[in-house]
């Protein structure tokens, strides 16, 4: 029941700590290299798909295969750890990087090699592509995996990797430029004949232009950051009077978060569902859609719960959305993993929203229902191999739900709550996966995203997956900091959520409702809590237990007391 921090299980002799400057003469790096220098056959991968239906895509002999032996992970947190784990499974050596705030972070403790980048702020560490490339060169790294966020959608960084002859595990810079900028992606979507929400195709030059475009498409409208994601630089605007303030705050937030203040406008679709299609494409002209994820449960445009498949997507809609997504990706010369996000309205019309040219936070739900491993596929494709499966091998089975566990306080306006994790008890049992990078005794830094962990439940049906998640949340304890664990109980027991009556405004409506009587607590439970508090205080009191003999003596007393009570 009580899990130990994972680092205690590490083979510590495999971790190399030194400064970037010391790398060039660290002879043991080559030793680490040779340790992992064994051939990994593609056949190993194929275990995840059934032999009878499986048929590898036809490779193009003109595409060179370049084996990856060492990967640098230009990220932190759970995603860095998730990538390190995949690399280790494939016998690939790993290089972690870290900021001063992350010296004791789990990704640093799990990697084969690890190097300091700089001070805590991301702009001085995880966003320093130049430092990361230096470390990659000095360590003899073949490929860089950018994870999500940070440099993952930075085309200039992808280009710098290409120039340094280091594989960037993601799409080519050209495809990233075309699809990663939201405004350019909309032009590409138009060219590919994909339906999209009316709005400005280009970034807005001024507040006046914003007024003009908004009047053309009609209020309500939505302002969005061209370079953005994760709800940063996004504002819903109900009327013209709100435009000026929203424009200023959205572009300054975009500037702060992404280094570009470019924003654009879209018509606001009422009560839309957020449904996205996972793609994987190789260098041989093959692109597959791996089903959809529904991410309608959002707060401030940040996804809170994701699931696969969507309760409202049937075979036909899935195929139409998937084929539209594949068409756009192929037209852009896209390779590796990517996601096309759609809004789906009540009449099941879908509209292109944007493309995320990277692996996404919520990729595990797709992995569970398809039985595929997306990071393994990313590595395979990045090496130049053809995809080991074709579209007819992709089948969805069961239902998966992911809860993003955040260090934030739902009872206090969702304030972030960085700090020391004094207690961590993680759930277990059937059908659970947790992608987590925190441990008991780790201090959650205030410099980065407040996500602590992703808890994913998998079961044959949606209802069973929800109940399984509720059970897991009951087992889960994170002490010392506020988290949103209890908030998930409220969502997962809500009748509308259970009936899949969700859209992107669902969570705001739930939050506006008063808490139901079901959450009321019995007096007995409070009494018990008070008793437990008294017992904790009494046992922790240092004065009372100053002499070690006391403990032993009290054991005897207890035994004696038990005996007397029995008698």
């Amino acid at each position: 029941m009580l899990l130990r921090p994972a680092w205690r299980c590490l083979r510590s002799n495999r971790i190399v700590f030194c400064n970037p400057g010391e790398v060039s003469h660290a002879g043991d790096l080559f030793f680490l290299n040779s340790m992992h220098d064994h051939h990994i056959s593609r056949a190993g991968y194929n275990r995840t798909v059934s032999k009878s239906s499986q048929s590898a895509a036809k490779p193009n002999a003109a595409v060179a295969v370049r084996p990856i032996r060492k990967v640098l992970i230009a990220n932190r947190g759970e995603i860095a750890l998730r990538i390190i784990r995949a690399c280790r499974e494939k016998g690939i050596a790993t290089v972690a990087v870290y900021s001063d705030a992350d010296r004791a972070a789990l990704h640093v403790l799990h990697a084969d090699e690890t190097y300091r980048l700089g001070p805590a702020p991301a702009s001085e560490s995880y966003l320093r592509g130049d430092l990361i490339l230096d470390i990659a060169r000095k360590t003899g790294t073949d490929a860089i995996h950018p994870g999500y966020g940070f440099l993952s959608e930075n085309a200039a960084f992808a280009e710098a990797c290409e120039a340094a002859k280091i594989i960037f595990i993601g799409p080519p810079a050209s495809a990233m430029r075309m699809l990663g900028s939201k405004t350019k992606a909309r032009q590409a979507a138009d060219a590919a004949g994909m339906p999209r929400v009316p709005g400005s195709v280009k970034g807005l030059a001024s507040i006046e232009e914003a007024h003009t475009v908004a009047r053309e498409i009609g209020y309500p409208v939505m302002l969005k950051a061209a370079a953005g994601g994760g709800g940063k630089g996004m504002r819903a605007i109900a009327a013209e009077s709100e435009m000026a303030e929203a424009f200023t705050s959205a572009s300054s937030e975009a500037e702060r978060s992404f280094g570009s203040g470019e924003v654009y406008l879209e018509k606001l679709i009422l009560q839309p569902r957020h449904i996205e299609v996972q793609l994987i494409a190789d260098h041989h002209g093959h692109c597959l859609y791996l089903g959809e994820r529904e991410c309608s449960v959002q707060r401030r445009h940040q996804k809170v719960i994701e699931e696969a498949p969507s309760a409202v997507v049937g075979e036909d809609l899935r195929r139409r959305m998937g084929e539209a997504a594949v068409t756009l990706a192929l037209a852009a010369g896209y390779t590796n993993a990517g996601t096309i996000e759609f809004l789906v309205d009540a009449e099941q019309n879908f509209y292109f929203l944007e493309m995320n040219t990277r692996l996404q936070v919520e990729h595990p739900v797709t992995e569970l229902v398809t039985g595929l491993d997306l990071v393994h596929l990313q590595l395979l494709v990045a090496e130049g191999h053809a995809l080991p499966i074709t579209q007819k091998d992709v089948h969805l089975r069961g239902h998966a739900i992911e809860c993003r566990i955040y260090a934030e306080d739902p009872d206090n306006n969702f304030f972030p709550s960085p700090g020391l994790i004094t207690k961590l008890i993680q759930p277990g049992g059937p059908g659970l996966r947790e992608d987590c990078a925190v441990y008991e005794g780790w201090r959650v830094p205030l410099d980065y995203d407040p996500m602590l962990s992703k808890l994913i439940a998998y079961a044959p049906t949606r209802e069973m997956a929800i109940d399984r998640m509720l059970r897991a949340l009951d087992e889960y304890v994170i002490g010392g900091i506020a988290t949103n664990i209890n908030f998930f109980r409220r969502i997962l027991t809500d009748a509308d959520f259970r009936a899949a009556r969700i859209d992107t405004g669902y969570l705001d409506r739930l939050l506006a409702k008063p808490k139901t009587a079901a959450t009321e607590i019995s007096a007995d439970t409070v009494n018990l809590a008070a008793l437990a508090a008294a017992l904790f205080e009494a046992t922790a009191a240092p004065v009372a237990s100053a002499q070690p003999a006391d403990t032993l003596e009290s054991e005897w007393k207890v035994t004696a007391r038990k005996e007397s009570l029995r008698a």
């Binding site: 940063k232 304030f415 960085p418 018990l528 008793l531 008294a534 007391r561």
Partner: protein, 166 residues
């Protein structure tokens, strides 16, 4: 040993025997109960009462202590019966200067009011950033800013006084 534990504004008088593990008798507000207590590790305790099992976890935050039980979190304080501070504290809640405290650790990114300014209730006084989120700290009441206790760029701890309004 007698302890006074306050949860949700109500204090409970809890009497414990000298030995605190195994099957023991304790009382809550004078009502006796038999409890089997097992401390698994510091901060994690198993209680068994009439065959019903409870896992209790001590949650020590920077500003408060709480017990986690049945998926719920009970913030508690220990009342010292020798002082009436808690009761007196509740009495003078109405008037007087009100501090604005940091709800979480973070950095001060903007200060929106100066000492001496007249402010409305819910008017923004300063902005704190933590974990990529900016949060405006608002005035708890209409009045005047007595002082701003921090400067732009300062790192603040949870519970730290940022400004005082009277």
């Amino acid at each position: 040993m007698t302890l006074y534990v306050q949860i949700d504004g109500r204090t409970r008088r809890i009497e414990l025997p000298a030995a605190l593990t195994g099957s023991l008798e304790c009382t809550i507000d004078g009502e006796a109960m038999q409890v089997d207590v097992h401390l698994l590790e510091p901060g994690v305790m198993s209680l068994v009462i009439n065959g019903r099992a409870f896992r209790c976890i001590l949650d020590e935050g920077p500003t408060e202590r709480a017990v986690l039980l049945d998926g719920k979190r009970f913030v508690y304080t220990l009342d010292d019966p020798r002082s009436l501070r808690s009761r007196r504290g509740a009495a003078d809640d109405a008037g007087g200067p009100k501090p604005i405290k940091a709800p979480m650790p973070g950095r001060v990114v903007r200060i929106l009011a100066a000492a001496g300014d007249a402010v409305e209730a819910q008017q923004g006084i300063l902005v704190i950033e933590a974990m990529k989120m900016q949060n405006e700290m608002k005035s708890p009441k209409a009045g005047r800013v007595v002082r701003i206790a921090v400067s732009v760029g300062d790192t603040v701890q949870a519970g730290q006084v940022l400004a005082v309004i009277e």
